[in-house]
C-alpha cells in the first residue's frame, strides 16, 4: 500500500524522524485553520501519489490566510497526471541550506536491505543514477545485523555530505532504518532530506510503501486503508478480500494463483481479446469466495464474457464448482461463463457443473486453457 506524503510523514514521526509541523485539509477553510496551527509562512502541498507535483503547480508557499485561500482553492480539485487532488497538506515552511536523498528498500537479488544515499537530493534519483551514478552511495545491510550508527556515519562520509550534517544525517538514517524494518515498509524514502540553516536535519518529503502482508501486526494502518484511491470494482473486491486489479477489456477473468491469472491475461490477449481485470482468488478458495469473485466481475458493465481458469492444488475443484452454481442462483450474471477446471478434485467439480441444470449457453466447460480463451474471446465479441 502506497501512503500519501502526509501519511508518510505521520508514519515517520512515529519513529522520531523530524518532520515539519502541519496538518491535512480537505477544504479551503480547513487549510487556513491548519496554516494558523503550523504558523506562517506555510507550504501547501497537493496530496497525490504521482511525481511532478511541483511542476504542475501543486506546491505553493503562502505567507498569510489570503494566500492560503487562493492556493488551496486552486490546488484542491486540480488534476495532476490523471490524479485529482482531494487533500492538501499544510506545513510550516522550512529554510533549506542543503538537500540530500535517502531511501531503504529490500534488494531482492542480494536478499539484503539496501540503503541509497546521495548528497544530490530534491531531484529525481533515477535521473541522478543515469547522469552521475557515483553520486549515489549504495550500502547493503544484513537484516539480522541491522544498521549501526558507525556504519551509517561511514555511508554519509562516502556520500560526500557536508561535514556539519554528518551526525544529523547518520542519526536520521538509523531512525529511517528502524521505520523501514519495524514499520514493515517495502520502501521508505526521503527526498529531499534537508539540512536547515540552523544545522537541523529534517525530512521534507516522505514516500512510504507498506507491505500488505504485515498488516496483521499494524492496526495503525487501518486509517491509511480508508484513504486508498481505488475504483468501485477494486473497493468491492477489497471488501471481499480478493486480489483484483481493474483493466479495460471485455473478458472478465477469474483464476487461482497469481501466475495462472497473469497467464490467463496473456492467453486472452494472444487469441485477440482483452481482459477486463486481473482477479486471483488465491489458494484454498471456497464456494463463498467464488461467489464474491463473480459478484465483483458482474459489477463491471464492460464485461461481455467471463473466463474462469482454475487449476486446483490447494484450491479444490468441487468447491469452485459449488461456488459458481451457488453464485448463479444468487446473482443474475450478465455475461456467460466459460470454465476450464483441472487439478485437485476437478472430476468432482466438472460433475457438479454438468449436473447443476444450468443452460450450456450460460455456463460452458472447455478442457484446455487456450480453447477456453478462444471461446471466451469469441463470446465477448458477439455479445
Amino acid at each position: 500500500m502506497d501512503l500519501f506524503e502526509y501519511q508518510g510523514k505521520q508514519y515517520f514521526a512515529r519513529y522520531d524522524i523530524a518532520v515539519s509541523a502541519g496538518g491535512v485539509a480537505l477544504t479551503v477553510d480547513e487549510a487556513v485553520k491548519q496554516a494558523e496551527l503550523a504558523q506562517y509562512p506555510v507550504v501547501i502541498k497537493a496530496q497525490v501519489q504521482v511525481g511532478g507535483r511541483g511542476k504542475a503547480g501543486g506546491i505553493k508557499l503562502a505567507n498569510n490566510a489570503d494566500e492560503v485561500r487562493t492556493h488551496a482553492s486552486n490546488i484542491l480539485g486540480m488534476d495532476i497526471k490523471g490524479h485529482v487532488v482531494k487533500r492538501i497538506w499544510v506545513e510550516h515552511a522550512s529554510g533549506i541550506a542543503e538537500e540530500y536523498y535517502a531511501s531503504f528498500t529490500l534488494d531482492r537479488s542480494a536478499k539484503r536491505h539496501l540503503l541509497m544515499l546521495s548528497a544530490q537530493g530534491g531531484v529525481e534519483i533515477e535521473q541522478v543514477a543515469v547522469t552521475d551514478p557515483t553520486a549515489i552511495v549504495k550500502l547493503y545491510v544484513n537484516p539480522i545485523e541491522g544498521l549501526s550508527l558507525e556504519t551509517a556515519q561511514r555511508a554519509v562520509v562516502d556520500a560526500r555530505i557536508s561535514q556539519k550534517a554528518i551526525d544529523g544525517v547518520a542519526a536520521m538514517l538509523v531512525k529511517l532504518y528502524e521505520c523501514f524494518t519495524k514499520g514493515d515498509c517495502d520502501l521508505a524514502e526521503i527526498n529531499p532530506l534537508i539540512l536547515k540553516p540552523n544545522g537541523e536535519v529534517h525530512a521534507l518529503d516522505a514516500k512510504v510503501t507498506l507491505d500488505d502482508n504485515a498488516a496483521f501486526r499494524h492496526p495503525e494502518w487501518d486509517e491509511y486503508r480508508a484513504t486508498e484511491e481505488l475504483d468501485e470494482r477494486e473497493k468491492l473486491a477489497r471488501e471481499k478480500n480478493l486480489q483484483y486489479i481493474g483493466l479495460d477489456g471485455t473478458v472478465g477473468i477469474i483464476a487461482n494463483g497469481a501466475g495462472l491469472a497473469m497467464s490467463t491475461l496473456d492467453v486472452v490477449n494472444q487469441v485477440g481479446g482483452r481482459a477486463a481485470n486481473f482477479l486471483d482468488i488465491g489458494g484454498g478458495a471456497n464456494a463463498e469466495l467464488m461467489t464474491a469473485a463473480l459478484e465483483v466481475i458482474n459489477s463491471d458493465t464492460k464485461v461481455k464474457s467471463i473466463f474462469i481458469n482454475i487449476f486446483g492444488g490447494i484450491t479444490r475443484g468441487d468447491e469452485v464448482a459449488k461456488g459458481i452454481v451457488e453464485a448463479m442462483k444468487r446473482v443474475k450474471l450478465r455475461a456467460p461463463i466459460v470454465i476450464r477446471l483441472d487439478g485437485t478434485n476437478a472430476i468432482e467439480g466438472r460433475a457438479i457443473i454438468a449436473n447443476a441444470g444450468i443452460d450450456e449457453s450460460r455456463l460452458m466447460s472447455r478442457s484446455t486453457m487456450l480453447d477456453a480463451a478462444r471461446v471466451a474471446v469469441d463470446l465477448a465479441g458477439k455479445n
Binding site: 531482492r108 536478499k111 494463483g257 497473469m262 491475461l265 496473456d266 489458494g283 487449476f311 492444488g313 487439478g343
Partner: protein, 298 residues
C-alpha cells in the same frame, strides 16, 4: 535420482492438525510419500489418521528420523516454524504459507544462511516439490505428474508460480513426457531457493535431460538464471514468463510480481533467456510443446 527429495525422504508436517496441513499432508501420504510425523505444540500423543503428533520438531525428529519438513501454518507462525525445523537439523524445509511479511522472510533467509547453511528452504508461498513416483511434499495434486522413465528423456521443472507449475506438469503428462523433479520456488520477494539453485541441481542430476523454467514479471531472478544458464547449463531448456500483458506499477497478486521503473518486464526476461539459448513459449502450452520438440531430438 531426483533433486532435493527421493523415495527415502521422511517427511514431518508442521501444522498437520490444521485444515490445510491435514488435507495436503494426508494426500502426500496417499501419494506414497513417507509422512512420518506431525508437529503441533500441545497436541503430543494425538494422531492424524495414524500419523503421530509431537510437540516440537526436535521430538518428532528424535522419534522418526524425519529429514524433511512440510510447513502449513499461518503467516504469523511461519518464520518461527522454519527456524525451528532448521534448528532440529531438517535438511529440506518446504513452506507453503502465503502472506509472510517480506521483512520476516529477509530475516529468516539471513539467519538460515548464517546459522544453518545446510538447510534448504523452499518458499514461503510455494506449492512444494514432487519427484513423481517417489515423493510429493506440498500441495501439488500428484496424479497430474508423469512418472520419469528409466531411460529418459525426463524433464525437470522449476517455477515461481504455483498454478503454472501444475499447468506445466499437466501439459507434459498429455505429451507423455516423464518428469524427474518439479520444484515450485514460490513468488515471494525473498524465496529460500532460487532458480539458479535448482538449475545447478538439475544440471548435475543424471535423471534430468532437459529443463522447463516458468518465471513471471518482477525482480531479476530470471535474468540471473539466464546468466547462470549461459555459463553452466548444457541441458536444453524451454521457458515461459507470465505477465506479458501486465500493466506497470500494479502488483499482480504475488508480492514479487510487479513491473516498476521499467524493470522486471516479461519482455526483458524473455530476451535474456533467449540470449542464453532457452526456447521461449508465449504461453505455458507452447513452452511444453517446445519441450516436446526438444525431447524428441534428444
Amino acid at each position: 535420482m531426483a533433486i532435493f527429495v527421493n523415495e527415502n525422504t521422511k517427511v514431518l508436517v508442521q501444522g498437520l492438525t490444521g485444515g490445510q496441513g491435514r488435507f495436503h499432508g494426508l494426500r502426500n501420504r496417499d501419494y506414497g510419500t513417507q509422512v512420518v510425523a506431525g508437529v503441533t505444540p500441545g497436541k503430543a500423543g494425538q494422531d492424524v489418521e495414524g500419523i503421530p503428533i509431537y510437540d516440537s520438531v526436535d521430538a518428532a525428529v528424535a522419534a522418526t528420523q524425519a529429514t524433511a519438513s512440510f510447513i502449513a501454518v499461518p503467516p504469523k507462525a511461519a518464520p518461527a516454524a522454519i527456524l525451528e525445523a532448521a534448528r532440529a537439523g531438517i535438511g529440506l524445509i518446504v513452506c507453503i504459507t502465503e502472506g509472510v511479511p517480506a521483512q520476516d522472510e529477509a530475516r529468516v533467509f539471513a539467519t538460515l544462511q548464517r546459522d544453518f547453511p545446510k538447510a534448504r528452504l523452499l518458499g514461503p508461498n510455494c506449492p512444494g516439490i514432487i519427484s513423481p513416483g517417489k515423493c510429493n511434499i506440498g500441495i501439488t495434486a500428484g496424479e497430474i505428474a508423469a512418472l520419469p522413465t528409466k531411460t529418459g528423456p525426463n524433464v525437470g521443472i522449476v517455477s515461481r508460480s504455483g498454478t503454472l507449475t501444475y499447468q506445466a506438469l499437466y501439459e507434459l503428462k498429455q505429451l507423455n513426457i516423464g518428469v524427474s523433479t518439479c520444484v515450485g520456488i514460490g513468488g515471494d520477494p525473498v524465496p529460500g531457493t532460487s532458480f539458479v539453485d535448482c538449475l545447478a541441481e538439475f544440471q548435475s542430476d543424471p535423471e534430468t535431460h532437459a529443463i522447463i523454467m516458468i518465471g513471471e514479471i518482477g525482480g531479476t531472478a530470471e535474468e540471473e538464471a539466464a546468466e547462470f544458464i549461459t555459463n553452466h547449463v548444457t541441458k536444453p531448456m524451454s521457458a515461459y514468463i507470465a505477465g506479458v500483458t501486465a500493466p506497470a506499477g500494479k502488483k499482480m497478486g504475488h508480492a514479487g510480481a510487479i513491473v516498476s521503473g521499467g524493470k522486471g518486464t516479461a519482455q526483458g526476461k524473455m530476451d535474456a533467456l533467449r540470449n542464453a539459448g532457452v526456447m521461449i513459449g508465449l504461453n505455458p502450452t507452447e513452452a511444453c510443446e517446445l519441450m516436446s520438440q526438444i525431447v524428441l531430438a534428444l
